[in-house]
Amino acid sequence: MTLPMATPDTDLDLWLAQQTDKSLLRFLTCGSVDDGKSTLIGRLLYDSQLVLDDQLASLRQESRNRSVGEEGIDFSLLVDGLSAEREQGITIDVAYRFFSTDKRKFIVADTPGHEQYTRNMATGASNADLALVLIDARKGVLTQTRRHSFILSLVGVRHVVLVVNKIDLVDYDPAVFERIVAEYRAFAAPLGFTTLEAIPVSALRGDNILAPSARTPWFGGMPLVPYLETIAVGEDRVASDFRFSVQWVNRPDLDFRGFSGTVLSGEIAVGDGVVVAASRQPAVIARIVTLDGDLERAIAGQAVTLVLDREIDVSRGDVLARPGKVPEFSNQMQARLVWMHEEPAYPGRSYLLKLGAQTVPATITDLKFRTNVNTLENTAATKLDLNEVGTVTIATDRPIAFDPYAENPLSGGFILIDRLSNATVGAGTISYGLRRAQNLSYQNFDVDRSVRARMKGQEAQIIWFTGLSGSGKSTIAQPARKAAHRRGAALLYPRWRQCAARAQQGSGLYRSGAGGKHPPRGRSGAADGRRRAHRHRLVHLPVRERAAPGARDRRRGAVHRGLCRYPDGRGRTARPQGALQTRPGRRDQELHRHRQPLRGPAKPRTRAPWRRTRPRRTGRHPARLARQHLAFKVKAVGRMKKALLAALPDRWGFSTHGTAPIARCCAPWWKTRSARGS
């Protein structure tokens, strides 16, 4: 029995046209160890006559001392390619295999069954349209089967074929088959697969692979290969919203500026309007360039170069979409995370997040729960170990464009990269963005920033002073404003609520911090959106040394609570944010606690309370407190000044000769001109 392979006939061109026009189905095989995944793929390759004579000869030789079918071949040897795999007789890594029939081309990912290689299984599943879940008829549904099915649903495989293998070893008993299918269906119901078909097969003997087997007359369904040939899996990616991920700005000369990338979904034609997801700047598609000539229209999956009708700021990582149908743009999101590294994931750790062409530093801010892959139960957890699945919230250093994974897998799946080892430590799918004020949208006014800037003869800049309260933001902002004012530039210094409105006026110098003024980042969706409308420069001041020892210690609720606020957001969760909104008194108290010396938990008293003890050195003595605070502030302000000078634009004059105004106000502590990094 062989697959009906196309053979070149007289009309070669027609045949070639057929070859190039076939559809492509990517599927994977998964299941527990020894369920016969590799054997099944070997069988498919053998039956589609893709095992060639020289391979067959070497296979026969290697198949001695192994369990073999009627053909005298251990099919699993066809796929297990690594020496370690051959030695142990198991699959370690995903192997990709290719075969085709008259109707379809197939790319098969053969994935490992062993638990320790689950990450490799996820690798195979992420690009598959369909999954064959193998089950050993003698063993039924196993832990690994459940784990794999859950990961399939997690990475969005929507079509599943339950292959009950080794049916020959249970004497083709329909009762066994029915029992397994019922059990699996019950388990898989909440996973929400679009289709779920069950087929009893014997990979070793070839039952129900290509044609209905005479040995299973009780089975009325389609055999495996015909089913794979006919199932419609391609979700209509062309019909969904247009997304284009800019990978590369193509600028060979001054006359051409194109944006190369792949149409992730939807379609686009010359003359269509698009907006940049990050800046919401609109433009119109002027050309769709390829080597084969310009196109009128590009659809999902095509890699093209787009030329826009006007010069707008677009760079690698930007996402183009249609106006009104833009992706979410946020720096906080909820996601499901599969952990893939031996070093566990802890909330608070910082990683690099890569989604499409966007790479940003990101922090797991909260581990909401861990999902038990066997029972699908959610349980509280403090960390995620290798191969565990959890639901987390993630904060990125700057906002990124994404879609919920369920709506668009290509713009909703991300990986986490360890910042030191650069290993891929986790993979996640975004459930939804966490963002306040989703209903606010940006209004494009005719009298815009550039008009006002022209009128005033200046250019808008936002400077964000950020750092712990008391670190000297105001101290710097005041003289900076004076200096700018002296040069004729209007520098505004409002509270954060006024930021957005004042930014429209022309220039602005904004300060934000904790002491009574909310930092725009990560707090308010409104400020967030508006701020994007301007070029902004960050003077980022990592004030952390005072909190660091306590933070490493991480004793619950004792040492560092509310004190350490790292630039990446770590430690922030320790403060009760809800309460802060409504109780300013408490808030100030909390926020200024770092000014007080750090203390460990109270020691148990060892002396009798009535005996007079030496007064404890608490550090709360006002004089000592003041001294400490002063030293702290001087250090912080020195660093901030450095960063500020580096960030300010040249034309403001600070960088060349303008250090004096800032320096003067703090002169006793600074060497005026030496901090310029010269």
Partner: protein, 302 residues
């Protein structure tokens, strides 16, 4: 009727172009391995597509063992002149000095010195952090397991047990100092895909792929083409003219020809469909042991 879905060749092409762009955008010093074979020709064509109308933003590196077919070198120079890309040719100077050749030193030693070592030298010399290659997963079993972005440690070794997970089309391109990446944009293509693509896109390839009368000698069942006088003839051996072609190209003393009449692309594709042996059979270096390719890759072979 407007295009509603991509055919599998269009899908493969788009995937490869995306990978090439990702390499150019993410690495400091990428380089493309150019072996002059059909896969390299396809890769070159894809690179031109990926960066059109710009130039290919990385150089092409050819590791010259000095035993390549003369027609290949001529084709290489012609192609470089036509498309104007930057071509770097490297030969292991020590191997050249010692006169390493496959006849006296054996194929495995020769391959190690003139190919593997030479490649490592060239990559180290250029401080390339990413090398793009034309390997496909259907070629060989250990290749079927390799990632598209395949991580190499500082000594260019591949560790199959610690491959990075590679999900969706999000590629982890980050490296520590000294490490490098091998990138295989046409991983998911099959030999048939390559040929049909060459046919559909009219990509120029080395004429050695087409059947023509050529001087050959037969050794243990393999037809070796006598490309120049360096091939030592055994006693009683005389080259005779036969109509042959090559399914794969490498160093002429190590590449077996097949008897064939296929002188154009359609007949090559037709012949391939009817054939019952695998592509790498013509390569003499793979047949040493079952894990030989994996071993070579761990040592840094492409």
């Amino acid at each position: 009727m407007p295009l509603q879905r991509l055919s599998h060749l269009q899908a493969l092409e788009a995937e490869s172009i995306e990978i090439l762009r990702e390499v150019a955008a993410s690495f400091e010093r990428p380089v493309m391995m150019y072996s002059i074979g059909k896969d390299s020709s396809v890769l070159l064509h894809l690179a031109r597509k990926a960066f059109y109308p710009g130039r290919i933003p990385f150089p092409l590196l050819h590791v010259n063992t000095t035993f390549k077919f003369r027609e290949m070198i001529a084709f290489r120079d012609r192609t470089a002149a036509e498309y104007g890309f930057e071509l770097i040719s490297h030969t292991n100077p020590e191997g050249l000095r010692d006169g390493i050749n496959p006849f006296d030193h054996g194929s495995s030693r020769y391959t190690d010195i003139m190919k593997t070592q030479a490649l490592r030298q060239a990559l180290d010399a250029g401080r390339y952090d990413a090398a793009i290659g034309g390997a496909r997963r259907d070629e060989e079993k250990s290749r079927a397991k390799e990632r598209i972005f395949s991580h190499r440690n500082a000594s260019h070794a591949w560790d199959p047990k610690t491959q990075r997970p590679e999900l969706w089309r999000v590629f982890n391109t980050r490296l520590n100092p000294g490490e490098s990446m091998r990138v295989f944009p046409i991983s998911n293509w099959t030999e048939l895909d390559v040929w049909t693509y060459i046919h559909a896109e009219r990509i120029p390839i080395v004429p050695l792929y087409f059947a023509k009368p050529r001087p050959v000698v037969e050794r243990s069942g393999t037809l070796i083409m006598v490309d120049d006088e360096r091939l030592p003839l055994l006693p009683g051996e005389t080259p005779r003219m036969e109509t042959v072609r090559f399914r794969t190209l490498g160093c002429y003393p190590l590449t077996g020809a097949i008897r064939s009449e296929a002188a154009d692309l359609p007949s090559i594709i037709m012949e391939m469909q009817a054939s019952r042996t695998s592509e790498r059979e013509g390569r003499l270096i793979d047949s040493d042991s079952a894990g030989s390719m994996e071993k070579k890759k761990q040592e840094g072979y492409f």
